[in-house]
């Protein structure tokens, strides 16, 4: 089974920058994830949304990368949100307490709606 290296596309919406994540979030994903985050924050959005719709695997190293992004967001007073996680990874976000520090939404629409009113 070949590793599906992470690709990230950055979209800019009116109140939010969206990172469309495609592939696996593991140790191989560090460079792509950090580069995309840097691109997203270059225009100083108040909120950055991680869209996990096309992510089918996150391991403990990937969790650490997400913790790193969350720390960066908090240090710059930016909100980091997540959407389209599978049921299993919602559970993992809950037990790791990531969901205590970054709101998790079932889809992009609800995340964008939340970002636009806050």
């Amino acid at each position: 089974m070949a590793v599906r290296h992470l690709n990230v596309e950055v979209r800019r919406e009116p109140d939010i920058a969206v990172l469309d994540l495609v592939g696996e979030i593991n140790g191989f994903a560090e460079e792509a994830l950090n580069a995309a985050y840097a691109e997203a924050e270059a225009e100083d959005p108040k909120t950055i949304l991680l869209n996990f719709e096309d992510v089918d695997y996150i391991n403990s190293t990937g969790i650490a990368l997400i913790v790193g992004l969350l720390a960066r967001a908090r240090a710059t007073h930016r909100r980091l949100l997540a959407c389209n996680l599978s049921e299993h990874y919602v559970e993992i976000f809950n037990i790791t307490r990531l969901s205590d520090f970054m709101s998790v939404f079932p889809d992009e629409e609800s995340a964008v709606a939340e970002a636009s009113v806050s």
């Binding site: 089974m1 720390a71 790791t96 307490r97």
Partner: protein, 158 residues
Amino acid sequence: MTDPNPARTDANLRRTLADFSVPSEPGKERLAMETVAEAVKVLDISGENLERLKTAVAEATMNAMEHGNKYEAELPVEIQVLVMDRDLIVRITDRGSGPPPPEEGDTPDLAAKLEGMQTPRGWGLFLIKSMVDEMNVTGDEGHHTVELVVHLGSEGGK
């Protein structure tokens, strides 16, 4: 001496579903978890419990590759998938001989990690323990084995 757990040693109650190895290369943990998932298809494990098992297998295999085999590709991580009595058991063995991981106090402190007081890493063992009913560690001078146990049945798995 009386065996304290005779069910575990009764060959009549033991069934091997898979016995394979993967090289100690980053990313090969996915091969391990998908092979285990295929092997346990014969069991009635619900979708969410199967996802938990897969995560535990992947994390334990990563630990074996990294800490036990130091990512030396020629050193295999050996994986056995067994059913014993009413338990599904996955044994993951590397060539390390280090001490077993700490049993207590290993819940990561996310707030401390976000404040930069701890490394962002250190989630693997916590995830393994959270995903299965039991985790046991054994070893000798040349081998180190992590045993993942899922109690089968309608409530099997955490």
